[in-house]
Symmetry: C2
Subunit: 335 residues, 2 copies
DNA sequence: CTGAAAGCGCTTACAG
DNA sequence: CTGAAAGCGCTTACAG
């Protein structure tokens, strides 16, 4: 890169100290009572030299970087991609930049990302925590780094979070299926002990129990990291036995794998099998009978998480817990 | 945040200078011939105090931040989300972090992002440039900032880039439709003068001409920033008149809007209307007759762009131009 | 009203 | 083999 213009260059050119230049360029000319003429000269010089402040130097001095670290499971997953976009927009409004990383629900990756971001002095974190990385998050808490968890939280840890009311989301989905006359309702979930998954499963179970369907409870748990073809195969096997007449999928990716399996196995929806998906997806709309699904309020989740984080970065140490209601978008797939 | 541990703290504790600590922690102990015992003490102290180097201070001193700035049209768009993920993975391998921003194809936003990233001293840029922001990119070139353009390039500017061979992609798509017996082949594109769009359109036109279908050329251009409902409506209107018996969509978003419109208007595919989409999308698979589409080699594009950028950051000033071949995934939607 | 100076936490050329 | 010191480009408490 070519020679960069610094405060000093402007100071030299105008014939003042870097302090004065700094004041003027940061809009403190009134407060510091810098002469109007000097101020003008400085501004002109800055423009003329095409001065761009070195945010790194500034960050070092001020001890803050105006950067937010965002860690999701996978930025390529539309759920997180959309969330990232909302976080980005909110961050920009408040003059923050976001650096991001994908953990793949993997604790080792997650830790590496957190360390990197800490080294880079991010002012705060928004994290969708992975399984088993409690100690990493706890280390952040001990360092008193502003932090909000998203999508899931860690019940043992005292942090702010923004999540879905997963229990009610799935509970209501089951009820909807029951109302539509389904009884043998199964669930396809991830093998994951985190709260978002366990709450979805709990919502399913309790709803089944409350509807006197305890004996029909059937949950298939699938590993997160399986390629979709594998997921599809597993779900496909479920379908050939067809012990259920309705299925609820616990995530977007599972819903998609399920749709592929249903298509491959040529099951008629909703006649042979009713379906409820999670999150939105265009594919849901083009499935033979458009999918009923549990919709998360992504926009608000993203906004709230940034709002809370900014709050914490301003010094508010009170943890805020937000649980948002989902919406069941009912369409043809449940009969 | 709580008190942070610095090099000095370790130095004090062990009783050496910060220089020695720095050498040891950066693996220069051999080179600088630091005593084995001292080195061990330093490493132990660092571990004990849970030392995390301040990357900001390091960046200021070294003049490089190990950060890549990635600017796409919209990180929530799966095409760019997937690209971002690949860039992220490649960057991490080489110890780089990526900060990202979405331009919405808007020059003002794009410029704000570029300025922010320059201020933050990113070591290099990967940019999907917006329409009319030539001067911004040019400013980057003048500053000698390592840069690779992606998805589109600016023909007037001397930069590295990684793009699709858009001309051939669409040319071949037209040929495929012709071979399938279609003649009244239309195209739905964005109102965008950038090279990726103009090349797609040129590919369409030339193919039509080469197949003696010059008179059947019909291109509908739609503004990028329209909400999908609007796009759908516009395409819907095309469908009611049905001047075409086949349509090629120039982007993923247009393909989706097109599918919704076709569904709403209950056109039979491929009997009444053949379709070819751009990029992949799960919705393509679940459409009544699975969509034939032009597939981009995303993985390689992401990798190559990072590889070239790293190359430039190492000092290689030679611009590299990469144009990748697409693949036509043929399925039922063309008959 | 304005400037000299310290200092943020590192790295590295230099001296011994 | 090891350390003192300068310096990256800013901000800001302090002095005058």
């Amino acid at each position: 890169m070519s020679k960069k213009v610094s405060l000093k260059d402007i100071a030299t050119k105008v014939g003042v100290s870097t302090a004065t230049v700094s004041y003027v360029l940061n809009g403190l000319e009134k407060e510091k009572r810098v002469g109007v003429e000097v101020a003008k000269k400085i501004k002109d010089a800055a423009r003329e030299l095409n001065y761009m402040p070195n945010q790194i130097a500034r960050s070092l001095r001020k001890g803050s970087t105006n950067t937010i670290g965002l860690i999701v499971a996978d930025i390529a997953n539309p759920f997180f991609g959309q969330l990232a976009r909302i976080v980005e927009d909110e961050a920009i409004k408040h003059n923050y930049t976001v650096i991001f990383g994908s953990s793949d629900e993997d604790c080792v990756k997650s830790e590496a990302l957190i360390d990197t971001f800490v080294n880079r002095q991010v002012d705060g974190f928004i994290i969708a925590p992975s399984e088993g990385c409690k100690s990493q998050i706890n280390a952040l808490i001990n360092r008193e780094v502003p932090l909000v968890l998203i999508d899931r939280y860690l019940p043992q840890l005292n942090t702010s979070y923004v999540v879905l009311d997963n229990f009610t989301a799935v509970y209501d989905a089951v009820t909807h299926l029951v109302e539509k006359g389904h009884r043998r309702i199964g669930m396809v979930a991830y093998e994951n002990s985190l709260i978002h998954m366990s709450e979805r499963i709990r919502g399913y179970k309790e709803a089944m129990i409350d509807h006197q369907l305890e004996k029909e409870i059937r949950i298939k748990k699938i590993a997160y990291n399986l390629p979709r073809q594998e997921m599809e195969k597993i779900i496909g096997e479920m379908l050939t036995h067809l012990i259920s007449d309705a299925l609820i999928f616990a995530t977007n990716a599972l819903s998609l794998a399920g749709l592929y399996a249903v298509k491959t196995n040529q099951k008629k929806v909703p006649e042979e099998l009713a379906l409820i998906g999670f999150d939105g997806n265009e594919a849901f709309d083009f499935f033979d009978s458009p999918l009923t699904y549990i919709k998360q309020p992504l926009e608000q989740m993203g906004r709230e998480s940034v709002r809370i984080l900014l709050d914490e970065m301003k010094g508010n140490t009170e943890n805020q817990h937000i649980q948002m209601a989902s919406k069941l978008i009912t369409r043809a797939s449940c009969g």
